[in-house]
Amino acid sequence: MSIQLQATKKQDPPDEETPRIGVFICHCGANIAGFVNVEEAAKYASSLPDVAFVQKNLYTCSETGLREIKTAIKEHKLNRVLVASCTPRTHEPLFKSTCQEAGLNRYLFELVNIREQCSWVHMQDPVRATEKAKQLIRMGVARVALLEPRQEITVEVTRKALVIGGGVAGISAALSIAASNIPVILVEREKELGGLLRDVNKLYPTLGAASELVDEHVKKLQKAPLIKVMTRAKVLNVSGFIGNYKVQIDSAGEQIEDTVGVIVVATGARIMIPNGMYGYDGKNVVMQTELERRLKDGSFSARSVVMIQCVGARVPEREYCSRICCMTAIKNAILIRETYPETEIFVVYRDIQTFGTLYEEDYRRARELGVGFLRYGLAKLPAVDEGGVTVYDELLGKNVRIPYELLVLSAPLVAPEGVTELSKMLKVPLDANGFYLEAHAKLRPVEFATDGVYLCGCARWPCDIGDAVYQGRGSAARALIPLRKGKVYAEPLYAEVNPNVCRDCRRCVESCPYSAITTVEETVHGYQRTVSKVNPVLCKGCGACSVLCPTGAIGMKHYDNTLIMAMIGKAF
């Protein structure tokens, strides 16, 4: 019954001491004192309960001001400090450290903002600005009196990484991490490394052979003694948190267990098989991968080729753009026109997306080489009969029939099998399409919200080889931060569950974006119960779980209901 919601009665501070609060009010030159009557505020502060000492400073953050705080803590045996000055966003760390230097726990400090949110915004009404400053100090005093000492949380990070997926993204990530002298376990489901790249003939825009790139990467891996490559391997179980992930891997029947500090997810994607679409049969109607295989082994012989784009992509059931198909089609069209100049090619498309400088160049080149482009819309899909495709050309406004010997379908990349399983194991989210959802597309790309888990390549969303390499290296750079530091620090502002009133409804578990809450089974007085437990390292202290909890079992360290209710009680 440690959670107390009614703030009417004050809790005894845990150290059994009566609070002795020191209040330091800053003039900030004329920034505060120009509009707030500091003298009056100081007089008022000294009348507040538990306030043992009040001092006005010209600049509290100056050498002199900080020294005065330290002296006062010692001379007046202060056990709580409140500074009324500017925003905690800039000055809280400084004052906290000052308290610490004087032997006071840094969390027994409160900063009241009477500059940004008082003197500067109420310049026309100094009387009421002073009144407000007094109220804000009163609220702060109520809060600081109830604060408890806390210790920063430090967690050691195991200097080892697990990369799941041996495609070009995963390999790039593994190589980058190993280059920083950190051991890596690289897990690949298939017999061979390389992932989707192994199905590719040539790479756009360089038209270099894909196999060379695979070979080069594999060679580099072989030369990296810190990377342990496991093929035909599967991650069976993951538990723990940043710095200390316990992983269980099955490699061709052999099971190993290890501890790693971070995990990079590079599980890639697979190409959707367009079964039942446009007469797909794998012979005369094939996918781009089959065309690539025929071009590679020289079995390609068609004199007329039609390619249909966006087969099963950008449609209601799969709304996204697969991103690689336009360039794949253009690349193959160029290769065919260059190698087999007599072969006619038409690309039937909805929109051509050849972003950037080099790709647009290729598009122009394909047109120069005589590749035909016909635009269709979702309203009238191309109709395929034996030997011909009828397209309603939106620009001409009429049907056009193009004969083909080979019809090539550009199908999108989709999430591979097993993502749901892995996402549950790692407790990271998937989007509606089964691709992994990163923490934030712009603020935190290639990272999951859960600390210590990163992602790259097609696991995130369809991307081409270049992007996969960028992302592999990018995720490695992020993963190397905790790995190189060897330690993770967490502020002790976290949620805590009172197991006596937790009913295992798991609302908190499901709502936590950081997977910081799990359920544990425990025995109390011979009685078995399942209750939620917060990992203070993973918890970011947002406090949403404490609001969602129906039984009131979750309290927030340093921002508990008691503290906020105490402030509200003194606000009016």
Partner: protein, 548 residues
């Protein structure tokens, strides 16, 4: 030390101003640390002016703003409350602001029913770069609230202050509850529903600890753990088992009121919103508690029969996600009453009966509400009050006379009324096939011994197959919570056990007659993924009426 001794010129000038006569509203703003608080800082750095009426409390995330903070702010004197957070999609914690929005909608509805104008509560997304937006919104909001005027008068705010805690007459309590008669046989603990699932709970031991604390230490609560004080369901199974007639539940209420004086409150469920909402009703605001009354319902302001609705309009927005529909009970009750030819009054000035405040030891809060309700009886001149909620019924019938000697009004529970009317053949019920079982509410059953009426009422529906659970009537098992405290893994076990008994009867629906039974068993059924359907009995009666 300060070197600025002289007051700045501007401040001197301002002090000469005549005191303002316009109403200055008190605005409390909550700002998330990452966006809105930074936005407020930017407003400051840019010297953008807004009214000093706004005071800001920093929280880590807008999702951290518990409804209890807002209720508390309004109770303590806020005229307007504004919650600010990052724009959707920009939350520092992914989707804390989305959670805030969900909470906000529920809270807004509860406040609206409580009589707080919707304009007094606001939710805004303000980013760190939107200093101007912060200043504009705060100015605009202040002006809007200024026009609305004060929410509470200074007297209303002052009336909430409780004086120094009265020292209770311990001897009187001991005599009244009969705890001194305890013969330490342990039957109370043996029968205690909580003790079945929580080995830390023992009424017998609690009484023993109390006596030892009282006689040896002169501090009645010294040896009592807060578990012992706050886990009790007040279901009174112990009272029923006790050969010496000890009223343990009443003793618990006393212990709780003493514990509160020591600042040791229990853990209220739902963030304490339920109790706060009940206390709020005592403030005397004009509530909007009758919006649910359908236009087809026949009500008569001048009727000498009143239908006392209780907290159903408040439970509705809070508990719909559990699958419970508390307001359906109110609508159905009106339908049944109309079918019986009764056009009752439903009273806007009705306040919570105070049941939950009493059982959590908040006697002062209970008395305030009770006094308001009794005043209403006089004001409206009603002769008879009909209850659908067993707790309200119990409170009026048993508790009010204990505290206020004069309650000269007939109190009838719907089950009693239905039983009487069906016997007389005044209610026509059609056929309804199905296997049901019935949950005795503790207030109606063990506390008031109304066991036969519900069974007769339900059995009068042709085709309704009423099955008996293993433990019924006096042995009936509690739904898990009677007054919104101490919901735990233990109460969940209790609910699981009870739902298991319901499943064992072969019934597909468990009928409840108390809104709390409905809410808590619906929640448990959803949580435990049992297929048992939880339904209020009035729905069955209305369905049977429609079949007639």
């Amino acid at each position: 030390m300060s070197t600025v001794t002289k007051q700045p010129r501007k401040a001197e000038k301002a002090e000469e101003k005549a005191p303002a006569t316009v109403f200055e509203p008190s605005i409390l703003a909550f700002a998330c640390n990452w966006c809105s608080y930074a936005g407020a800082d930017l407003a400051g750095v840019s010297r953008l002016q807004y009214p000093p009426n706004v005071k800001l409390i920093r929280v880590m995330c807008s999702g951290r703003v518990s409804p209890i903070f807002v209720l508390e702010a309004f109770k303590k004197g806020a005229d307007g409350v504004i919650i600010t957070g990052c724009h959707i999609g920009d939350c520092h914690y992914q989707d804390g602001n989305v959670k805030a929005e969900t909470m906000f909608k529920k809270l807004a509805e509860v406040l609206r029913v409580l009589g707080v104008e919707p304009e007094r509560l606001r939710l805004e997304w303000i980013s760190a770069s939107e200093g101007q937006r912060f200043a504009t919104i705060m100015t605009e909001f202040t002006e809007k609230v200024r026009k609305l005027g004060p929410l509470l008068s200074p007297e209303q705010i002052k009336a909430q202050e409780t004086g120094p805690a009265e020292s209770s007459d311990l001897k009187e309590l001991v005599r009244e509850t009969g705890v001194y008669q305890c013969i330490e046989c342990g039957k109370c603990t043996g029968g205690c529903l909580m003790a079945r699932f929580n080995p830390q709970v023992s009424p017998r031991l609690a009484m023993k600890n109390f006596f030892v604390s009282y006689f040896s230490h002169k501090q009645p609560l010294k040896l009592l753990s807060m578990d012992e004080v706050w886990y009790c369901l007040t279901c009174e199974t112990c009272h029923y088992h006790c050969p010496a007639g000890v009223d343990f539940a009443k003793f618990i209420v006393w212990l709780r009121s003493e514990a509160i004086k020591l600042g040791k409150t229990g853990t209220p469920t739902h963030g304490g919103v339920m109790h706060a909402m009940m206390e709020f009703q005592a403030l005397g605001l004009k509530q909007n508690r009758l919006d649910w009354v359908d236009s087809s319902a026949q009500v008569d302001e001048k009727s000498d029969t009143m239908y006392y609705v209780g907290c159903l309009p408040y439970f509705e927005p809070i508990f719909t996600e559990t699958g419970a529909h508390p307001l359906a009970m109110a609508r159905n009750t009106l339908k049944i009453l109309n079918a019986l030819g009764i056009k009752p009054s439903v009273y806007e000035g009705e306040v919570c009966c105070g049941h939950d405040l009493y059982w959590t030891g908040n006697i002062e809060g209970f008395k305030k509400l009770a006094a308001l309700n009794l005043e209403n009886i006089q004001k409206t001149g009603v002769k008879r009050i009909i209850f659908s909620c067993p707790e309200c019924f119990y409170t009026y019938k048993i508790l009010y006379p204990q505290f206020f000697k004069t309650v000269e009004v007939e109190t009838v529970h719907m089950m009693q009324l239905l039983d009487e009317k069906i016997k007389k053949g005044e209610l026509k019920l059609g056929r309804l096939e199905g296997k049901f079982t019935f949950q005795d509410p503790c207030r109606l059953g063990r506390l008031l011994a109304i066991y036969d009426e519900p069974r007769r009422v339900l059995k009068s529906v042709k085709g309704l197959d009423l099955q008996c659970m293993e433990e019924i009537r006096k042995e009936s098992i509690c739904c898990g919570s009677t007054h919104w405290v101490s919901c735990s893994s233990y109460t969940k076990q209790l609910q699981k056990y009870r739902l298991g008994q319901a499943v064992d009867t072969g019934a597909s629906t468990l009928l409840t007659a108390c809104p709390k039974c409905q809410i808590h068993l619906s929640c448990a059924a959803k949580d435990l993924k049992t297929k048992m359907k939880i339904q209020d009995y009035t729905e069955i009666i209305v369905q049977a009426m429609e079949q007639a």
